[in-house]
């Protein structure tokens, strides 16, 4: 059958390149593998040529797939499910890219694109390590390509194809209108596209510039973790056990900088545009990407130890392997749907659980495969991997915990085989050496990551062991409680480690060098604790004291690194990468501790409400405050007024104008909300914040009047009054001040004989403000032609001039809560949040400077 209006070519091209990338990446992985194994140069050259050609083909395919998706989105080809699902006619062009990586397929594609870019750079730069490293990268590319291939093998769906047609996607299965004769059993109507007039659109919460830039950075970070991993694998495989470290350090620094930046961009996004009131919630999705980063940081430090002293090589192998394995695990967590109950922003299950898990099994077992020394071992491991993968498929639900055992077995096998190959230094590190303390720091960081991931994995344990556990009452506190201790240790080690020398440090030298930074830190920390003060006692004095100590440690890290940079390194920027990164990390800790420890809810609801709480309300205070329009309310140091609102010209988005006034300052915030977006009767709020150098005032709308539910049933109560008379209402009284009648109205549409009457009423709130209200009524030929209603919102009053009898005015008064425009706000004050962002920036810049320095040094050596 021919369907009218379909463009089939782009999809066919797209899917062809999906298949091509799948084949090309597998060929590349195999050819690179053979390159490493080849004994003679001629054979080696042949395989290398094929490998490169295949990898270039893979890259070309991936870029073409991406281009086709952009093209289809740009031209609104809603015959494709992906386009229909993630975009719409009204979607602004700048969000086309966001729409692509909103879905699982697009985010996987983004990951493979970065693998390609990094791979191409790697081929250009790292001649010696190209074959083994790229073999691993191409193998990963193969697995990622299977995620978007969308084919069936024996009824098992492999991957999800972004080029699937809407009519073939199953979306129409329950839509009779799309079928011939409105019969679901019959074929799709040939003219179905005429009814698909618009797409589903990008989730409005994701229509945000952070959604344009955060995913590319995060996925570049994700993709970059494979390089250090592949280096470690290459080291074991080619038996050049330590030779790769120097080449791998700059790549590791890059990975740390970019992955860290990507994670913190997500935090900034959450802080700026989502309204859970913070930048970090220990959500599983956040933790899942933080953990590999932390392990990678540990790995970097052990690499540096090895480079300078020869210690810690085994730990390096463990850290770098685990870092990538946890990247794969985080993909599993976010994409498999296992986090359904516990995360706010994980993807839902699209039936790829098995495939995602297979990805993990294979890469876990790839590590012992690479660490094996003989072909016999390799074959055994490959066979075991295949057997265990199959066994997991059948036994996962029979033997509780089976998949976990498969993973642990793989890691243990790796460690055993790796230990056989990698020598350990017999001589003990001196406690007065830099390497000793660096190692302790790396270890603490690593263990802290392990604790986080176990806490995060509760839903996985539920699935594995068929148990029913949920996070505890204060799930965030459970993380903070432990991590504050980690911050203390890591903070102090960050401060002092650089003052140690490798091998051995004379005590006098150390004390002399550390005395001044310690002294200055003590003064600054004391100043902060005494003057700025942290009084976060929600979780008891013990936790508060820990926060205080952690703050001292963090300040110590900042001061000691700043002084090291200007003292020992004489301010030489190029050599100061490490110090800058550590200083930034210290600032980050200070920012976390101060902003969280001193976060204030401004919108505390104590007394401000104009009406009493209902009799059955136990409520004393709450964190939300209702503002009636035009009526200033007290909120912290501010008088806050809901002034009005304005609608976005194109979207169902309303901006609410909120004035903040205090003795010192006045400013206006405009939090906004999507209302009834796509007719779904919901409000989706976006916050707004006023930024000062030392704090932010942050607010969002937490509840709104439902406009469709305003049913004004109250009737006007009529009062016939002469000028000067008083009418009482529940909160005060009003006086009829003036009553004027006038002929010859200068308004079109009225005859000369028509008379207009105006009544001026002064509304006086009991011991409060007064309001002026002018009411108009026009009468002609004994009939009422026009009658105005005037609303005094802050008093819940509606007034009207109903009639004039013998010079007396009949004034209608209506009191109703429903007429009042109101909104409910939540507002916070975040102090010192900028320290946190500054800390992130410095950490990233420091890491990149260090990377640059290392690249330059190795370039000079090679010349």
């Amino acid at each position: 059958m021919v369907y009218a209006g379909e463009h089939l070519l782009p999809g066919q091209i797209g899917h062809f390149f999906v298949l091509l990338s799948l084949v090309a990446s597998l060929v590349a992985a195999f050819a690179y593998y053979k390159t490493v194994r080849s004994q003679n140069t001629g054979e080696r050259k042949g395989w290398l040529k094929l490998a490169r050609l295949s990898f270039f083909t893979d890259c070309f395919s991936v870029f073409t797939i991406f281009f086709m998706l952009v093209y289809m989105m740009f031209n609104h080809m809603f015959e494709y499910k992906y386009v229909w699902q993630h975009s719409s006619l009204s979607l602004e062009p700048k969000y086309i890219l966001s729409a692509i990586w909103e879905g699982q397929e697009g985010s996987t594609l983004l990951w493979t694109i970065w693998h390609c870019v990094l791979g191409l750079i790697f081929i250009a730069r790292e001649k010696k390590w190209e074959a083994p490293v790229m073999s691993v990268v191409s193998f990963a590319q193969f697995f990622l390509a299977t995620m978007i291939v969308g084919i069936y093998i024996f009824d098992v769906k492999i991957g999800s194809n972004p080029f699937v047609l809407l009519r073939e996607s199953g979306v129409f299965d329950n839509a009779p209108a799309m079928h011939l004769d409105f019969d679901l059993t019959k074929a799709i109507r040939p003219d179905y596209l005429t009814m698909v007039t618009d797409g589903n659109d990008l989730n409005p919460l994701l229509q945000n510039y952070w959604m344009v830039i955060h995913p590319p950075f995060l996925f570049l970070g994700f993709a970059s973790t494979i390089i250090p991993f592949a280096f470690a694998m290459a080291g074991l495989w080619t038996k050049d056990i330590g030779g790769w470290i120097k080449r791998a350090i700059p790549w590791t620094l890059f990975s740390i900088a970019i992955l860290g930046l990507g994670i913190m961009m997500g935090a900034k996004w959450a802080y700026e545009s989502l309204n859970f009131g913070g930048y970090w919630a220990w959500d599983p999705v956040e933790n899942a990407s933080l953990v590999p980063w932390m392990i990678m940081v540990s790995g970097l430090h052990t690499m540096i130890i090895y480079k300078n002293t020869g210690y810690s090589l085994r730990s390096t192998y463990i850290f770098l392997a685990l870092s990538f394995i946890f990247i794969v695990y985080s993909t599993f967590l976010t994409k498999s749907g296992v986090l359904g109950e516990s995360s706010v922003h994980a993807f839902a299950d699209i039936g790829m659980n098995g495939q995602l898990f297979l990805f993990m099994i294979v890469f876990v077992w790839l590590t012992p495969f690479m660490a094996a020394t003989t072909d016999k071992q390799r074959i055994t491991i490959a066979a075991v991997t295949a057997a265990l993968s199959l066994a997991t498929y059948f036994l996962a639900e029979v033997i509780p915990g089976f998949p976990l055992y498969v993973i642990i077995a793989g890691v243990i096998t790796y460690i055993v085989l790796m230990n056989r190959q990698v020598p350990a230094v017999k001589k003990e590190e001196s406690a007065s050496s830099r390497e000793f303390w660096m190692f302790i720091g790396s270890l603490v960081f690593f263990l802290s990551a392990m604790i986080i991931i176990v806490q995060t994995s509760l839903p996985v344990f539920n699935k594995l062991f068929d148990i029913n556990t949920a996070p505890g009452e204060n799930s965030e506190f459970k993380y903070n409680q432990i991590q504050v201790l980690v911050a203390i240790i890591v903070g102090v080690l960050t401060a002092i480690s650089q003052y140690f020398r490798y091998k051995h440090t004379p005590k006098e030298y150390l004390l002399k060098k550390l005395a001044l930074p310690t002294f200055i830190s003590a003064i600054i920390a004391t100043f902060i604790l005494v003057v700025v003060k942290i009084n976060f006692d929600k979780h008891g004095i013990g936790f508060l004291i820990n926060i205080w100590i952690a703050l001292v440690a963090a300040v110590y890290a900042v001061v000691a690194n700043a002084m090291y940079m200007f003292g020992s390194l004489k301010g030489n920027m190029k050599n100061s990468g490490g110090s800058i990164a550590h200083l930034g990390f210290g600032l980050l800790l200070v920012g976390i501790l101060l902003s969280s420890g001193k976060k204030e809810v401004l919108s505390i609801n104590t007394s401000g409400i104009p009406v009493n709480f209902g009799p059955d309300s136990k409520e004393v205070t709450g964190e939300n405050l209702t503002l009636v329009r035009g009526l200033p309310m007290k909120m912290g140091p501010y008088k806050v007024t809901y002034v009005g609102d304005s609608a976005h010209p194109k979207k169902q988005q309303t901006y609410f104008k909120i004035d903040f006034n205090s003795e010192k300052e006045s400013f206006t915030l405009e939090p906004n909300a999507f209302i009834n977006y796509k007719g779904n009767m919901e409000m989706m709020a976006n916050p707004d914040a006023k930024h000062y150098w030392d704090h932010d005032v942050f607010t969002y709308v937490s509840a709104l009047q439902n406009p469709t539910k305003i049913a004004d049933t109250t009737k006007f109560e009529m009062n016939t009054k002469a000028v000067g008379d008083t009418i009482y209402y529940s909160k005060g009284y009003m006086i009829l001040e003036k009553l004027v009648g006038k002929d010859n109205l200068p308004v079109a549409g009225f005859a000369k004989t028509d008379t207009g009457y105006t009544a001026s009423v002064k509304v006086q709130q009991m011991n409060g403000s007064s309001y002026q209200s002018d009411l108009l009524m026009i009468r002609g030929a004994g009939r009422k032609l026009f009658q105005s209603e005037d609303t005094v919102f802050s008093q819940n009053l509606v007034l009207t001039l109903n009639d004039i009898k013998n010079g007396n005015a009949e004034i209608g008064v209506k009191e109703s809560a429903d007429i009042t425009p109101w909104l409910t706000l939540k507002a916070y004050k975040f102090p010192y949040i900028n320290l946190l962002w500054l800390g992130v920036i410095l950490t990233v810049i420091g890491s990149l400077i260090a990377m640059w320095k290392r690249i330059e040094v190795s370039r000079l050596k090679n010349v």
């Binding site: 007039t197 509760l458 709480f613 309300s617 937490s702």
Partner: protein, 153 residues
């Protein structure tokens, strides 16, 4: 034994101790009946909003008081009190994860997580918030409020 091994052992032991103590603070996912059976105990109640029962929320009176009835998959109902406005996506959600305690005949809720029908799953397009069968939707708020602004004093 090297110093570093001793420290390693201590740190690993400490981590395990931390995790064991963490596991003891975990709670459970519950239905209405099982939540009722442990009054005063913190649980995760899995249920959905029963739209047939009245929902009480008056932001003018008290923006921090929401009361509604939740019904679980077994059909058991329970009144829920939540000291916050309606959470986002409350109306759309097909499931609510409510953290709190059962006290005095009511579920005193501290936190609600809404679970929406996933936009990544294939579903009946007629129920899709988007269209296919293009629905005429009107957005009354901007005009209405705009009109009120014009006449407001």
């Amino acid at each position: 034994m090297k110093k570093i091994h001793i420290i390693l052992l201590i740190l690993v032991a400490a981590s395990i101790a931390v995790l064991v103590s963490f596991l003891q603070t975990t709670t459970t996912y519950d239905t209405v009946d099982t939540a009722k059976s442990k009054p005063g105990k913190f649980v995760h109640l899995m249920a959905k909003w029963d739209k047939s029962e009245p929902l009480l929320y008056d932001a003018i009176k008290n923006p921090n008081y929401l009361e509604f009835t939740a019904v679980d998959s077994l059909g058991q109902k329970i009144p829920v009190v939540y000291h916050n406005p309606k959470p986002e996506n409350f109306e759309l959600s097909e499931k609510l994860v409510m953290k709190g305690k059962y006290e005095d005949g009511k579920f005193m809720c501290q936190n609600i997580q809404t679970k929406c029908p996933s936009k990544y799953k294939d579903q009946d397009p007629s129920k899709h918030p988007g269209n296919i069968e293009k629905k005429e939707t009107s957005y009354t708020l901007p005009e209405k409020v705009g009109g009120q602004i014009a006449t407001a004093k």
